[in-house]
């Protein structure tokens, strides 16, 4: 792989890179730009191997690229288990691959300053759902705090370079990163607070009082935040699903969403010749964005007989000559150190591979876009009841139409409450924010009006056949919530 994978020209984006910084990787000095992630700086310098399998000793790379999957963990300045995909690189930083066995930090004591915080509404996760909750509840008069573990605010909106669908109220027609900018400005104007690089680590609620511990990374040390909150909204998003196939561990195989961050936020090319597995909207959008970043897309494959996402997204790729092969799956990834090829194969109506239909593809990049799973680890700490929603293929916290879970004062919104899309996330966030204001009697009439309007917009959105599964799943979820509540009485 070429050493310099920096994107210099892009049809939509201008990359504003920070100051050049020097950092050490495995004792060797490399260069990066201030404010980019360690993982992006490493990748731009040609480093693809981020670790080794504990059992088989084969090389592994990063996968999700958005701080969820743990495959990018490294030892940074003597501290183990640092998520390099969401940690900014700094001058003089020492980065090393972790050994097979865990090792404690170099320094036994790491300075931790403590601070107590209180919020009427604590929001965990600052993507489209969290931002909308924050804006809505702050405007209605509540004291709101958003915490998010990423260094750049805005969740996954910041890497979306395509124009959003939906209606004008949910910023349709604007590109995701522009929407993030507008929402953050809206939050700033109404005085909502947003802490970046702040990880929620544990729920310690008792007797109907909610308390979360969080750690904020600061220049040189950490701050432990003890946040008490009257209400909590968990908008923790989702992570990319993985797919089992021979060779799937090889560096060069990444979650499609992670690659978006790498190329659209940090301006680093993920590879040169790509295969995309999955043709939902994520796969289709990322395929198009790879072309914009100057990456060749050899094919998109889909196990189902039909494309999963919107035809307009697929058409954008098709008319540029990218083959979209429905009824195909990946048989294996090839390579020793990195991916250097893939074998794909046609499947029959029972999704079984048809021998003799193998096709070899010359690729150095395989992107997995086979759906997302709701990130529910944080909300599970509260002891909430969850249910498996077959329509969504996922475990989600049981919640009602107000987005309140089975524990009073705790809400959920966005992909963390069941995978849908950005407009849904914003509307659910708005509903949660307004429902809290209504309950707490902050501008209750206005809050009710906002909530009702969001309900009606959400139901208009859900008339789409693309959201049929979400609608059915959410309905069952509400029924289950009613059941749990009547049992409690």
């Amino acid at each position: 792989m070429e050493k310099n994978q920096r994107i210099r020209e892009h049809p939509i984006l201008d990359f504003e890179r920070g100051k050049r910084v020097r950092f050490q990787f495995e004792g060797q000095w490399l260069e990066g730009y201030e404010n980019e992630s360690i993982a992006a700086a490493l990748f731009a310098s040609g480093v693809k191997i981020f670790g080794r399998s504990k059992r088989f000793n084969h090389p592994t790379g990063w996968f999700c690229g958005i701080g969820k999957c743990s495959s990018c963990l490294m030892r940074v300045n003597g501290i183990p288990n640092v998520r390099t995909c969401i940690t900014p690189v700094k001058e003089g930083m020492r980065v090393a691959i972790q050994g097979k066995k865990g090792a404690l930090p170099d320094e036994p004591d790491i300075a931790v300053a403590k601070k107590e915080e209180h919020a009427q509404v604590l929001i965990i996760g600052g993507g489209p759902a969290g931002l909308e909750t924050g804006i809505t509840s702050t405007r209605l008069g509540l004291n709101t705090l958003i915490i998010d573990e990423n260094p750049i605010p805005g969740g996954q909106l910041i890497k979306q370079t395509h124009k959003f669908f939906g209606s004008k109220k949910e910023y349709a027609g604007l590109r995701g990163f522009e929407i993030a900018r507008i929402m953050l400005e809206g939050l700033r104007k109404c005085g909502g607070r947003y802490l970046t690089e702040t990880s929620a680590i544990g729920y310690y609620g008792k007797d109907g009082k909610h308390k979360f511990l969080a750690v904020k990374k600061r220049e040189g040390d950490y701050q432990l935040l003890e946040i008490t909150a009257d209400n909590m909204v968990v908008t923790s998003g989702a992570s990319e699903n993985y797919l089992p196939f021979p060779g799937n561990y090889l560096p060069g195989i990444y979650g499609a969403g992670g690659v978006q961050t790498l190329m659209n936020v940090y301006g680093v090319k993920p590879g040169n010749k790509a295969l995309i597995v999955g043709t939902g909207n994520v796969g289709l959008i990322v395929g198009y964005q790879l072309l914009q970043a100057g990456v060749k897309v050899k094919a998109l494959i889909e196990t189902m007989p039909r494309v999963g996402g919107y035809l307009v997204h697929a058409s954008k790729l098709a008319r540029l000559g990218v083959p979209i092969l429905s009824g195909h799956t990946i048989k294996e990834a090839k390579g020793e150190q990195y991916v250097n090829g893939a074998t794909i194969i046609a499947v029959d109506e029972n999704k079984q591979p048809i021998e003799g239909t193998e096709l070899e593809l010359d690729v150095d990049l395989i992107l997995i876009a086979v759906g997302l799973s709701a990130s529910t680890r944080i909300i599970s700490q509260t002891g909430c009841e969850k249910m498996f929603v077959s329509e969504l293929g996922d475990w989600i916290p049981i919640h009602n139409a107000n987005m309140e879970i089975t524990i009073d004062g705790i809400y959920v919104a966005g992909d963390g409450s069941g995978i849908a899309e950005a407009s849904t996330a914003m509307l659910e966030g708005r509903i949660a924010g307004a429902a809290i204001a209504e309950k707490e009697s902050y501008n209750p009439e206005e809050a009710k009006r906002i909530k009702e309007e969001a309900f009606s917009e959400l139901s208009k959105l859900r008339e789409s056949s693309f959201l049929k599964a979400v609608t059915a799943g959410k309905r069952r979820c509400q029924q289950k919530w009613d059941e749990v509540k009547s049992r409690e009485k």
């Binding site: 020209e9 892009h10 049809p11 939509i12 395509h162 124009k163 959003f164 669908f165 939906g166 209606s167 004008k168 349709a172 027609g173 590109r175 043709t279 072309l291 914009q292 100057g294 998109l300 007989p305 039909r306 494309v307 919107y310 035809l311 307009v312 997204h313 697929a314 058409s315 954008k316 790729l317 098709a318 008319r319 540029l320 000559g321 990218v322 979209i324 429905s326 009824g327 407009s423 208009k460 959105l461 008339e463 789409s464 056949s465 693309f466 959201l467």
Partner: protein, 165 residues
């Protein structure tokens, strides 16, 4: 043989004609007109907002857009605002032999006026060549590239490719 749009990933002329109804020969002869190649129930409506003449309507947020070819003047203001990049403008009466096709385009290098490019159909197949007559960039940051091309290709040409690539 796969030929359903969702099996192959793109619309074909026949499906379009059936599903959305294309402008008549007479309408095409009168001047430029937009063609909205959007057939699914995507919750989306910026095209309705974009048209100041009220030529585009939607029965609900999720129904495919309906365009009144008589009201449409082919001004192209919807082309760069459609999130699906699914709107094209055809000016069949551009020249004696040639039609002008305006295409939303977001790739590098940015096409330049006067350049000769290959024209690709909806499947990405090269079907001919044309000259770039105009390149504009609206507030949506999408380039709208207009190419002069043989009239027989106007209903098929939906993308471009730099020659020699």
């Amino acid at each position: 043989m796969k030929n359903e749009p969702r099996e192959i990933g793109y619309l074909t002329y026949d499906v379009l004609k059936k599903k959305i109804g294309l402008p008549s020969r007479e309408r095409l002869a009168k001047g430029p007109v937009a063609i909205i190649e959007c057939t699914e129930d995507i919750p989306c409506d910026p095209c309705v907002e974009a048209c100041k003449l009220g030529a585009i309507s939607k029965a609900s947020l999720t129904t495919p857009p309906d365009i009144d070819y008589e009201k449409c003047t082919g001004c192209g203001s919807c082309v760069d605002l459609c999130p699906g990049l699914a709107i094209f403008v055809i000016k069949m009466n551009y020249e004696e032999e040639k039609a002008l096709v305006s295409i939303p385009y977001e790739m590098l290098p940015v096409p330049k006026r006067g350049e000769r490019v290959d024209a690709l159909d909806r499947s990405g197949k090269k079907i001919g060549a044309g000259e770039i007559v105009k390149v504009t960039r609206g507030k949506g940051a999408t380039f709208v590239v207009s190419i002069a091309i043989g009239k027989d290709l106007a209903m098929e040409a939906r993308s471009i490719q730099m020659q020699g690539k």
